[in-house]
Subunit: 405 residues, 2 copies
């Protein structure tokens, strides 16, 4: 039974993140879960708020009929209203339920948006380093991903984006706080980007859609805030989920919000609803639509992620690994350290071998993800949404691994 | 914010089923739910088994950590094992968990399979009448849908399928019990189809994948059985869900089973897992994976659908509407009746105007779906998975509508 050659080719060079995650499950079975330091995947270690359990319990006792039936493809009106309240608060502009389309996680929502927007050979600009699944999501719908390097501090290089825009550009995807760098793009950065898109529009007559992928919006440190985009660029949508902030990644619940200020918001909403249907998502899972309608603003204490960040950075400091200080999310993006003889580390002028270093770490039962897939060879990513005890226990392994590198 | 022209075009000629369903919601708000006879959509009126509630309740009280976290893209091993037991029993051949990929409903599973199988311009053969979403599902992945009419009793015309096969054919999709006709393809029909595919393979060296879309497998009448396909054609997969048999369509839970007898089952499983990931499904919703692992063989009494079928057919008989007697599923596929003056009805030699007739029915607050989208102009579909009382209440409206046609 033949597999499509395109899929076979993709699989050959496929996601290191998932490979490491699944390898981690096997290593834990072999060595014991507490002996494997699995920093491979953004699978939040915090449990969902207690209210999720209470809601599930009360939903299970409801006498209402049709709790698990089809509803309109866009989702329950009540859930869409709750999401509109969330987005209105975050964006500082009024958004109502008609601008919300419930989605199957941020990944499902992103695919529905790209399907609605892309024509064959359209280009999608993504600041790099970037979440590697975007490559597939864009190609799924006939588009071409075009990466543009960020500045050395991983902030947006809006002039480089200006240079990358052309007649084929359909959208720009930004992901802030960023996976893998933890960078939050400043309001000034977003305003500059909007200026670049406005210049492009007045020069060419072409409107570029800005897609903000925001699953980490709430997970920020040092009281930082994530800039709104709706007041800054009308042709914009927000794609997000409750995977990271409420620790519900397995339930596939998220949504898209379309900027009411764009001139043809209604047809864009309709197109995303249509795409949600024809891609086979049909609708976001019913029960968790009801859960997030009640839980979206449940307070969550992310300070433990900050403590874990601090613990892991102190270990990396001791081991001699240099990293970018994350402002949000739960990833540390690190340079490959120099070898014992001083050669081979990643610096501003040279690129270390992150594949070899990640293989080396595995010998010490440490799982990290090589940066090449994120568009940044010479670096690797550690996801620290794991238990504090696992981080502490990894100290000697990191130090030993680096001393033997 | 520009919508892709392809999507705008599709939307202009989009699903009557969903349009009618959403129109029905509005009409119910306007006239009262009991005054609208909504036969538009396969949204089961039966409630899920009580065990679903008990499981949700006990899951909500579980002290286990990570109940809502990521798991491997293929799903929980325990759930995959349960599905393997189900498929082994139905197909009469041993299937183990490694041949199962959990999916986001049958629609999600079907998209993942088509993504794994199709190369650009590949053809997919579908016996017609057919579920109209297949058109989109095939196009999503660069394929071309090629319909082949069934015989006058809606059984497979395997010689017509033989004639439609060519070097571009990648797969054949069969849907039994069929939506919209309620037809169950006999074991002999499937065996004949397998023979046609085998002849094609020996002549051209090309293996055509048979995809059986089986969400209605359990919903059958008069003790009929749905034929297995795994013993008959090795290059085959089954796509299904718990939307119709357990009344969970809103939860988006289903799976794909790959025939262990095909020569490269492992690579096909891997390709479907990969497609599930990159299309943005990522994994089937976690909680309902746990629910169906325990509920898949919960007995459900479908006799009420049989009673509803009998009630609705007696009404149609009284109104003078001719239909195909369904063997399974919960749809009646009907001919447009002749007008008062005897003209315009659908017969073997002429095609009535099903669009006009469905519009006419709407005046009597009856919602049905025109057959054109199913590949069969002159016919219309009534989904009778609605309450018995609603069916009974529709009697006078049907009779009045037909007498005024």
């Amino acid at each position: 039974m033949p597999v499509a050659p395109y899929i076979s080719d993709c699989m050959a060079s496929s996601s290191f993140i998932r490979k490491m995650f699944e390898e981690g499950i096997q290593m834990k079975a072999q060595f014991g879960a507490d002996k494997v330091y699995d920093f491979s995947i953004g699978n939040p270690d915090l449990e969902p708020p207690e209210k999720v359990k209470r809601l599930l319990s009360s939903l299970s006792q409801s006498a209402d009929r049709g709790m698990h039936a089809y509803m309109p493809n866009a989702g329950y009106p009540k859930t869409r209203e709750a999401m509109a309240a969330k987005v209105s608060r975050e964006q500082g502009v009024p958004v109502d339920f008609s601008h919300i389309i419930m989605g199957t996680g941020a990944a499902g929502a992103m695919n529905a948006v790209l399907k609605a927007v892309l024509s064959p050979d359209n280009e999608v600009i993504v600041p790099s380093p970037f979440f590697p699944e975007y490559t597939h999501y864009v190609r799924n719908h006939g588009g071409v991903l075009k990466t543009v390097q960020t500045k050395s501090d991983f902030s947006l290089d809006t002039e480089a984006i200006r240079a990358a825009l052309n007649g084929k550009t359909a959208c720009v995807i930004i992901n802030s706080p960023n996976n893998p760098t933890g960078k939050i793009y400043s309001r000034q950065d977003i305003a500059n980007l909007a200026r670049v898109l406005a210049d492009h529009e007045s020069k060419t007559g072409r409107t570029v859609t800005l897609i903000a992928d925001e699953p980490y919006r709430e997970v920020v440190y040092d009281k930082r805030e994530v800039s709104p985009i709706f007041p800054l660029w009308p042709a914009s949508v927000i794609v997000t989920s409750f995977a990271k902030n409420l620790s519900l990644p397995g339930e596939r619940i998220g949504f898209t919000a379309v900027n009411p200020a764009c001139t043809d918001a209604r047809s864009m909403v309709d197109a995303i609803i249509f795409s949600t249907r024809i891609l086979g998502f049909v609708n976001a899972p019913a029960t968790f639509q009801r859960v997030v309608a009640e839980c979206w603003n449940e307070p969550v204490d992310y300070s433990s992620y900050e403590r874990r960040r601090n613990s892991l950075t102190s270990i990396l400091n001791a081991a001699g690994i240099v990293y970018a200080e994350p402002e949000g999310a739960f990833y540390l993006f690190c340079r490959v350290p120099p070898r014992k003889d001083g050669s081979g580390g990643t610096t501003d002028s040279q690129t270390g071998d992150e594949g070899a270093f990640c293989e080396h770490l595995k010998k010490y039962r440490i799982l990290g993800v090589p940066g090449k897939g994120f568009g940044k060879p010479g670096w690797f990513r550690l996801a620290y949404c794991v238990s504090q005890s696992s981080i502490e226990a990894s100290r000697e392994s990191f130090i030993e691994a680096c001393s033997q590198w």
